[in-house]
Symmetry: D2
Subunit: 173 residues, 4 copies
């Protein structure tokens, strides 16, 4: 069985880092991939593909990427379902990123989005370590003892023996 996806596209939003109850970093995001062909009206449409990244990939995404960033994803399609608010089953499809590539030129990198206005903030925050995991510009350790971060569904691979991350880069560039 083979299930392989490669995407190159742009983030539709600033990625937001979350943590599972057991402290595993996770980021959900959408990649807009422009089609290489046009429709009947001669317009170039795009596909908006839901993705999820875990651990270091999630942190790198949140620390170095923002809305509009060009990104490469190597991953797999994962489907699932959940009980909708109306009691009906909702089926989901998303790409789980094994590895994430940051394809912006150097000049466009290094301005990590923080709580501050992204471009041209008043006071420089780059390189200033923060205690808030959402603000730190460098890959952070899972905040083991920080009680009030955002919780998400538990990492389904928390105790899986298979490797989750293919690329173990500490820094994406």
């Amino acid at each position: 069985m083979i299930n392989r996806v490669v995407l190159v596209g742009r983030l539709t939003k600033d990625p937001e880092l979350r943590y599972t109850p057991s402290g595993v970093p996770v980021t959900r995001f959408t990649v807009a991939v422009n089609r290489t062909f046009t429709n009947q009206q001669g317009e170039r449409e795009a596909d908006f593909i839901s993705c999820v990244a875990w651990r270091k990939q999630a942190e790198n995404l949140a620390n170095y990427m923002r809305k509009g960033s060009l990104i490469g994803i190597d991953g797999r399609i994962q489907t699932g379902s959940y009980e909708g608010p109306d009691g009906k089953r909702v089926y989901t499809t998303e790409v789980v990123a094994d590895s994430v590539q940051f394809l912006e030129p150097r000049s466009a990198q290094g301005q990590p989005p923080g709580g501050q206005p992204s471009y041209g903030a008043g006071q420089p925050s780059y390189g200033v370590p923060q205690s808030d995991p959402f603000g730190t510009p460098f890959p952070s350790q899972p905040p083991q003892n920080q009680p009030n971060y955002t919780r998400v569904d538990e990492d389904p691979f928390a105790s899986s023996k298979g490797p989750i991350e293919v690329s173990e880069d500490d820094l994406p560039f």
Copy 2:
């Protein structure tokens, strides 16, 4: 922008051929891809991935494949949306198959599912040409003047200049 998917898995159902109002063959189907790793409970789960094939790929699928068949897909992820019955927007993700590979051994092929009972039909239909596009075991031409086949949404690429099918094989094996 890159959007590439490769899947190898099994059909969850006998594929069913449909035609757009303008006579373009289309088949929607689901591929079950077993994961190569196990979950916390030690179970091997599967992803159930929605796919669509057009034209010759659609015909080959309907003519030569059935529930359980091992299949290889080379395609791309396509997203879209439609108005749900309750007026809410429903978002969709599917794989559009550029090319389809039939990975069953020869012995398991050649028993095309037809209008007849697929498994264990009374009279052999193999190789018997039919006028009904749903029953013919060989790739058929779009039934231009047959009014009462099943209609589906129009082929969005009907007049697109880009190639839809990467592989132009007349026969899949």
Copy 3:
């Protein structure tokens, strides 16, 4: 049978357009892809992957890309062999690009390398249409009756019925 390759990397040289005896444009080039992991010495190595593009892809490559450009390739591995100078058989492996993506930011594009500045020519030719296919910044027609361009091996797909180019974009961006 499935044979799919996706690469994102940088051109090791300015691409050079050639034509087959029957006038089909072809460009051979090497893509350097940095590995996402390091070796025992802690160094990040790269793979230098031989590629070939035909027709419009070849022209776009030659017209818009240069040494160092970031490029995405969607293609397949092709192997072959030829008689070496010493009479021994030499085996080759290369990636045939079905589609080529130009991943440089806009600012880095639009300066098509020509005989001019790039390779040290006198006057700027940007945007100035030329009859010479090597100088024109826009995709050109195969120069059917120009006798003295560089000849290469005949296009093996010249009369193949299968589609060669997946993406039919006239302009890569």
Copy 4:
């Protein structure tokens, strides 16, 4: 940087397991991938793609696959070079298999190639443990203290921190 390959094809030979000086299992093999299109003469050609698998993948290959077996590979292209016998540099391209899929139907599996005549050997060898790593039908541990196995070049990833195997299956089916 992205470097992803997916292949489905057939082994051109029975795979042979080797070990590096430090005991890492490695198998080199060639996958024949039939093209999905025909050449000018209407013939369907094939690409013969050099591959290498390490560790458990190498063992599974040697234990469960033979000449002609249908196989799926998820991997990356790796290039390198070595000093040829005539002192000239020889450049190599091969696919490093991150994961290997065994696509034969069950009936064709389970007859591990051994020293015995492959199909229909007189005495059943399946499931009979052997001390020879080349004959055992189950994944074996690296033969740490067996001096006289075949040596090959050292595993270049022996001490790499990155994961080598994406799929950690003990058994391929």
